[in-house]
Symmetry: C2
């Protein structure tokens, strides 16, 4: 008999999940969506009314339901639903990166058997099997760095700005029309979404918690055609990259736009695709690349998680040897395009200066710490791109 | 207390595995290599003699040993060791692609609980987590095609032929010096190794058995500087690719050299790296890329498997709905460089003809079946490259 699932939310990914279940006889044999909890009962729905409820308590306490699939936007409501469902002994699958990123410390305190009942592969890189790879394949392989493109809508926007030479605003509009952008575009274009996902990656790569707000974060909203011209002249493209790394006793993390060579795999990651490179002691680099957005692609990973928890798949939880310090001393090279003069004392070295379009630019070496603290770095008139 | 492992063989990968265990305190806490079975007791070894035995029976029947890690060359001896160890209730980890490919039908007949005790991720793509991704991430996602570069040494050889413009023979010599080539280079360069791995991929993608010898297979040993020039002139490179696909009721598979665009990820897969693209209904394409050869990189996947079997990790075994027929009707476009005239009646369409170097070439459309049956296709003087 098919095992019962409770679905919370009925947006784009949840509808995709529903379709994957009902359209595939092999899946229908295994699982059945018993109830869908929605917020607004008055919206017209294509499915039978009996399937829907607005009463979340009745769903999470339903004895027949083995797995709660949480796919709503509201991070704080989602955390309540998840903790209740887990305490009711149910397994939980979610794709809510903001909620997970904000609760990593709480998750880490859960006993391992509870952590094993909560899967959220789709929260990072949609259908890319990144978290299970970090958990199980790299369980005992020392990871040194994880770096990549983990936000599909900014990648789509930057792609349009290079391919069609449209403005940032026009490209953003196109991404919204295609449903690639989050309901609040600020989450994507200012790098919040990427920093949430990066916190989750850091947790699975190193079993360490780094709060999203502690991550150096600069979005793509300041990038304009002058920067695009500069990149093209230097045979580069620009990608919003997220990076976390581990040294002996410290960890570090940042989300920054970066000039990327067209010959690199990251430079060839187009449209709403995501790509993540894992560096480790014995493997050098490994790349996982796939669709980073879209209802069906994300739902596919949700379904894989549902099957995993029903099958009691364990995730290997890396040993935790106390807390590593945050390494803000790491130096990076950046390009800054500025309209007004900036204080260059925070740089350890100035590598180049010149004019670009009607603006000035400088290229210099700076520590993550100094970049975080510099007032000019927060000024939206200054475009900052890592080299 | 550390759980006991029995290691069979002490070649490049086995030595890499030994190092990963003894050099990592986190691994040493979990597992201990109790005994290593070797063939020749008279070779000098850097380790204590007590660790070694030439008596395989004592190892596979040792009650303390929970996992047998089989890393020998001899496919038939390996199969005996594995079946004995499994019947003794032990878990088994192997990287022996030839042995596995030749025994897929036998494996398929094992009860699921036995299949779950036998892991061999390192047999395909070394450290790339391909088989666990096909099993667990794509367990219920309908795969349409898996295609990629799955032989590191031929990729290295082709890379040298393009980058340094050396001859095939010289590039092969370099690959052998670096330890990338199998002990018998024929296995690599004639595509046998790739076809073994492709059979295994096909088994995990579709739970179907296709014998390696039924796979259309052409190696890279016929490729010369004329073909390299032809590729460069057309802004392409040449890669040995393996491909399997599924239609409604049929499967197909082939290993062929292929002209690949430099802008494709496969075209950018350098040195001994491997790269595999999985196409499926809801994800479009997903790419996994990593080191496809080398002792440590392969051993890393062996270690991950050992930890998985000790942790009782299940692999999702796809439902098997009878046998799909072999689809040899699929048409492909190929380039044939030939010194003597070839019978063109097997082509359904001739697309181009001309001269290349001192030879003639033609480009035409042909079915897999016709290509398999054509005598000129087996003639080593004719270079055949898929387009």
């Amino acid at each position: 008999m098919a095992r019962k699932i409770g679905l919370v939310g009925f947006g784009c990914v949840a509808q995709g999940f529903y379709q994957l279940v009902v359209n595939n006889p092999l899946v229908r044999e295994q699982i059945e969506i018993k109830r869908i909890c929605i917020k607004h009962s008055d919206k017209p729905r294509a499915l039978s009314e009996d399937l829907f409820t607005t009463d979340i308590d009745s769903l999470v306490t339903d004895n027949e339901i083995e797995v709660v699939v949480e796919l709503i936007d509201d991070a704080s409501a989602a955390w309540d639903i998840i903790t209740t469902a887990l305490s009711e002994g149910k397994a939980v699958v979610s794709a809510n990166k903001k909620m997970i990123a904000e609760n990593l410390r709480n998750l880490q305190r859960f006993p391992h058997e509870i952590q094993n009942k909560f899967h959220y592969e789709a929260a990072v890189g949609a259908c890319i099997p990144l978290l299970k790879t970090l958990d199980n394949h790299y369980g005992y392989e020392p990871i040194s760095k994880v770096e990549g493109i983990i936000n599909g809508s900014t990648n789509y926007i930057l792609g349009r700005m290079f391919a069609d030479r449209v403005s940032f605003e026009e490209a953003l509009g196109q991404a919204q029309d295609l449903g690639y952008a989050e309901s609040d575009p600020k989450l994507d274009i200012e790098g919040f979404d990427a920093s949430h996902k990066l916190s989750i990656i850091l947790f699975h790569a190193f079993n360490q918690v780094c709060k999203p707000e502690d991550i150096l974060r600069i979005g793509i909203d300041r990038i304009d055609s002058t920067d695009v011209d500069f990149a093209v002249k230097n045979q580069k493209t620009i990608k919003l990259t997220a990076c976390c790394f581990r040294n002996e006793s410290s960890i570090g993390a940042f989300c920054l736009p970066r000039f990327v060579n067209l010959t690199e795999h990251l430079g060839r990651t187009e449209d709403a695709y995501n790509a993540v490179e894992i560096s480790s002691v014995n493997t050098d680099k490994q790349l996982l690349l796939g669709k980073g957005a879209g209802g069906e692609a994300t739902a596919m990973a949700v379904l894989a998680d549902v099957m995993s928890v029903l099958d009691n798949q364990q995730r290997m939880i890396k040993p935790q040897h106390g807390e590593l310090s945050l390494n803000d001393g790491q130096e990076i090279d950046i390009y800054v395009r500025h309209q007004q003069n900036i204080d260059t004392s925070s740089f350890t070295e100035i590598l180049d200066m010149g004019s670009a379009g009607g603006d000035q630019f400088l290229i210099g070496r700076i520590s993550l710490k100094a970049l975080k603290k510099s007032p000019w770095a927060r000024h939206t008139g200054n475009s900052i791109i890592m080299i």
